[in-house]
Amino acid sequence: MIWDWGYAIDILPQMAEASLVTLRITVMGFAVAAVTGLVWAILAFLEIPVVSFAVRLFVEFMRSTPLLIQLFAVYYFLPMQGIILSATVTGVLVLGLHYSAYCAEVYRSGLESVDRGQWEAARAINLSVARAFRRIILPQAVPPVILPLGNYFVAMFKETPVLLAITVIELVATARIIGNDTFRYTEPITLAGVFFLILSLAAAQLMRWLDRRFALPGRAL
């Protein structure tokens, strides 16, 4: 018998619990990505001589090197500098920073879609740069990019298993541990796949709802 239902049901609670870990990591990582990504986008947008170039270089670097090697590098490097973080925190930070590069590109397209006149009008009525961003530009730049940001949320979710390399016990790590104990890999790994499928379909649905909920007036679908 290749597929054992009894065994699959036995390990189900353990897998469900692990999927919560995966979900938590994704949400925290996405918070990091969404915030720092916005910072990179604004810094690059302002065209500050050295800073903007450094930010673009950082974004290019994060986007063109694998997450796995970034995780390894940070995980082994930080303790040498006397910074002791748990594997989960390290994982969340690196995952967040990796995807902040993608989010920065998304925000950039949002910022560029805001009409120049808005910016000029904000400056003309003597708003400071910070206030113009907060009150005028961002409220128009962010809502249109919620859907593409959401796509990265789902992409991040599917990339969390890479964190098992630095000993974070999430869904796939749990599946592999169960498999190592029992020498039955079929059920745990297939179940991990099913969990991912269900959760990412649910997340995609949630993102679509958010996109409709925060659609700008006059630009509704």
Binding site: L68, T160, R176, G193
Partner: protein, 242 residues
């Protein structure tokens, strides 16, 4: 960044990387790193070819008038886009042998990476073919071209041009995914870094060198795809100059 800026960054990366490499204790044996890079590049090349084949097969399959084929291709795309790449890789490596076929880690790695990116690329192929104006297809029918000639001579040449920019992103995604094959014991660049770190404890040097190498390869891919994009845009009216 523009092509010239990227090229400048690539040259700077290579120069800095080589200078740094020669200042480390590894300067005497570059073959350790080059071996890892060679494995990564080999997996990348094999999966790029396979990914393209899968993308066109599944992408055109989704446009097929034959319903079972369309459903099969849609199921493939949804399953492989909806689950994690690492799950797919583990499934191929741990579970597939139980059903019979024993495949080498290299094959499993290439297959895992290609099936994953292939699903994303299939959607690109499908969307690009759909984006070719309807009139092109109707004109081809009016000229009495066979369905095959219509696709090959009229639709695909226009669709492929639209596929290149998203394929550029997918090429980088593919490249980054190749790092995952280290999980199933293939000694690519990432595996080399991990092992060297475990055996020499030269953490900073090892990871700096490997990151330089990955960045150089990644930049080369980005530049290559941008050049390809420019090549395919030749002779086409540019709507958006930027």
């Amino acid at each position: 960044m523009s092509i010239s800026a990227l090229t400048a960054v690539l040259i700077a990366t290579l120069a800095l990387g080589l200078t740094y490499f020669h200042s480390t204790p590894f300067a005497a044996n570059p073959e350790v790193f080059l071996g890892g890079a060679f494995v990564t590049l080999r997996i990348l090349a094999a999966s790029a070819v396979l990914t393209l084949a899968i993308a066109f097969a599944a992408g055109l399959g989704r446009l097929s008038p034959w319903r079972p084929l369309r459903w099969f291709c849609t199921a493939y795309v949804e399953v492989f886009r909806g689950t994690s790449a690492l799950v797919q890789l583990f499934w191929l490596f741990y579970v597939l042998p139980l059903f019979g076929p024993t495949i080498s880690p290299f094959t499993a790695g290439v297959l895992g990476v290609s099936l994953n990116v292939g699903a994303y690329a299939a959607v690109v192929v499908e969307a690009s073919v759909r984006a070719v104006p309807r009139a092109q297809r109707e004109a081809a029918i009016a000229l009495n071209l066979s369905p095959f000639a219509r696709m090959r001579r009229i639709i695909l040449p226009q669709a492929i041009r639209m596929m290149i920019p998203p394929f550029g992103n997918l090429a980088i995604q593919l490249f980054k995914l190749t790092a995952l094959v280290s999980f199933i014991g293939i000694s690519d660049l990432t595996y080399t870094a991990y092992q060297l770190n475990q055996t020499t404890y030269r953490t900073v040097e090892v990871f700096t060198i490997i990151l330089f190498m990955y960045f150089a390869i990644g930049l080369s891919i980005t530049i290559g795809m941008k050049l390809l994009e420019r090549r395919f845009a030749r002779g086409v009216v540019r709507v958006n100059a930027r």
